[in-house]
Symmetry: D3
């Protein structure tokens, strides 16, 4: 991997926003995921409230959607773009809440950062709303899950990529949850 890979740095190493004007707008889609690890008691309380009121995940969902729209405000070298759709899904596990953000658009640049940012802000919102009950929560496994569109083509995270990202066992844990999150559409745990 040469230095030339760092497209955010010019040949002199100074920060810049790379020029995307020669690119044509195309359809882009990105999926990011993370987990908020917490005590089983906290997940139960969220789940029970969820069934009755849904407010913790409801607020986190709105926060994630709004965050996706304002990604370039917060990430300095990220290009501004207009997101075309954003959705957030949650899955309550025994000791964590899994967060998945999907962003789509028709633009000159990809929406990876928008999906990552939406995931991150939704997780922080869950942390904020539950921290009076459990201050030891940990947000982890935040990663790009899938990306389509654009010159660099399709990317899908798999077990091999996961294990190459530094031996983090938690990265492996993400893969194992795929079926759970997918099934959340059917099980409707969070709604």
């Amino acid at each position: 991997m040469s230095d030339a890979s760092f497209t955010h740095l010019d040949p002199l190493g100074r920060a810049r926003m790379v020029d995307v004007t020669p690119k044509e707008p195309t359809h882009r889609r990105a999926v990011a995921r993370c987990k908020v690890f917490m005590t089983p008691e906290t997940t139960v309380t969220i789940a029970n409230r969820e069934i009755k009121k849904g407010d913790v995940l409801s607020v986190a969902r709105v926060a994630g959607i709004q965050a996706a729209k304002r990604t370039s405000d917060m990430i300095p070298l990220c290009h501004p773009l207009l997101v075309g759709s954003v959705s957030l899904n949650f899955d309550i596990g025994d000791d964590h809440v899994a967060v998945e953000a999907t962003v789509e658009t028709v633009e000159r640049t990809g929406v990876e950062m928008e999906a990552m940012h939406a995931c991150s802000v939704a997780a922080l919102t869950i942390y904020d709303m539950c921290k009076s009950a459990d201050r030891s929560m940990v947000i982890g496994d935040l990663t790009l899950w899938e990306k389509t569109g654009g010159r660099s083509g399709t990317y899908r995270r798999d077990a091999d990529h996961a294990s190459s990202s530094g031996g983090s066992t938690s990265a492996g844990a993400v893969s194992e949850d795929t079926s759970n999150i997918a099934s959340s559409v059917t099980n409707v745990v969070e709604s």
Copy 2:
């Protein structure tokens, strides 16, 4: 843990911003940490650039400082407050960059979310600037490390708390890095 712990929800379970007007402003401090896991090649490239230009971590530092100031814009039920100081520190490990954010203020509410948000946005900025080289990076171990001031007193994350947060082995990994981050002040890897 009773439902009463969820101070962001009123007795009917609806979201609200809890009333902090009866509190007196006091000195508050919070430290949050996270890690951006990546391939060893990517850490080497950041480190080498860092020695020459420092731009990746420089930009992430500015992003984290600005994020701390705008936390209540992004986290819906977080109280607005005026941060009094913000600092970001980085430590480059073999397979990750560790991020530490410290925020202080004199206000009616704590600055945990400001420190968590600063950490998270600094990590996303590192991800954004390196993603053309390594798309499989994972942001993890984002957690509150220390908090002082306020009615609930001092909180310091320790090994026991870590293990209670859902059996996540990566949470334990954070503890092991304490000495590295502390020594970064001396080693100045990132400056």
Copy 3:
């Protein structure tokens, strides 16, 4: 009423932000209300969803809370301040949804605009989420309901004030709804 009443205009009629630095911070509270008029079919649909999911009013509630925090960003001569608490309540009537926003703080200026802005944005969010079903909705009766604290003392809207505001029959309608909104805490239609 002399021109001197327009404290936002200096003696030459130019806009300025009036100086509040000589004031001491005191506890302030303001309540604002408005209504989103719509067809009975739309209120039924919101109510039914509300019972099942609560999402329309949930999203409106988050929007109102976030708007309260950013009032001075949108209203040019409004002083910036830190809101200490914000709550939004809704009451579904036959042909409208009533919105009530309560804001409290300890600051040098009142929070009337924060309450009015929160109400207005919550109502616009309801409009936005229901406009595909009913484009003829009307937002009305947006007014300050109550204000306490500060040099000008307590203000409470009453029938006399209402009728003095230009003979608008809709202003009178607000008064008639007081009992409904108050009872919403008991009836919990929206949660």
Copy 4:
């Protein structure tokens, strides 16, 4: 009207930003109106200042234009878009100031919310600047007046729609003012 009309809610009732990526950008235009009801003394004072300095309506006009640009920041499920033109017009009546906002663009989604938001923030700015003289003002009759472009075609509010919106007599009042607002271009009351 079936639930399917609520396009902001997915089949499970959770909030999402609907996908607009399959749509082609087309020319869109929307007009929204509202009124700030106040005592005749206040309208006279605004009018007199208006003739001399124009500051109240001048500031409200700028506030409305800036609000149109930031609509998706405030309304959670509203798509971000780039407004192509914004204009605000005012008409001073005996007991109210009428506000009209017109927004145009070439985008994948309509600009109804931008026009509604601009109207609302301009009205709140008038309220803010006059509230020291008259705290009992009421903002009402905020509604979409006209919309062209997009798949759903042209919409024009008329007397029938107005009367169907809940029997609000003030909604009818809007219709009666059409000629006044139109004539404001000729009479130039506000400039």
Copy 5:
């Protein structure tokens, strides 16, 4: 001048927001000034419009006031604070428009950057509104004119300071205009 003067840089040269929590809030005031140089034809056109409508300077005034409130959003290491009053004044010269911004507050840090930022954005707004007539305008002489309050005491710019700022003759020109700007309160050129 030692490196220790750069209080925004820590001993290792990394950016940080300096800690202001040990300071007590005190009354602060700052005045900044700048000029927008333009052709005499453009100043005449602004002046004539100004007499009739006042819109160019009216819009610039609102822009400057809003900019003062959001200074810490734009200047990375600037502390957030709540401005207590902001006023903008203009003086139309033969070949320029002079801009003066005054900001006051009761806070832990000074408001120099708020005054400088307000001046700068008001000037850019004048540039934006006149650039279709005169693209060669130059914004210059932006400087802190006066500052009171805070540990470092009172600062007033004088001829000596001006000449020490690099031999710029335009800096000297600012001094010569003092009387003009002061007299603008009496002459009311801009209102």
Copy 6:
């Protein structure tokens, strides 16, 4: 020059955002420049730090890039657009730091204001970071240097335009620095 040149004012002199919807998106580019005049001691200190850490100009670069993205938030009648690339360059002279901002995009309107705003905020950031050492700094010579694309074609500032902008000698000084800034790419003073 007739009044018709002020395209931001409608025929009645009221502020409006001019309609750009009939225009086709085309490639646009703008370059703006300014200088921060300061004592020679301050430039030396920046330069020495620059060689070691680069933080003053690094932070200013990030601030300028973020400012370019948010120009329409701050300048009321400026159209929102999506910047495609932004770069900031600096050149340290004996008694000043020169700032150059280049912005490119494919949009319906030009990016002059984005380049001017980026320049201005980068200069204010330098001022903010050095003001504890030198309060008498002056920001000047902020002007559009070059603009290509759009119906009005290419504009390049030259000596004639400079001298026509009001006899400001500092405007002439900008021209003389052209070679220095150009050579900064070769000399890399700032990186």
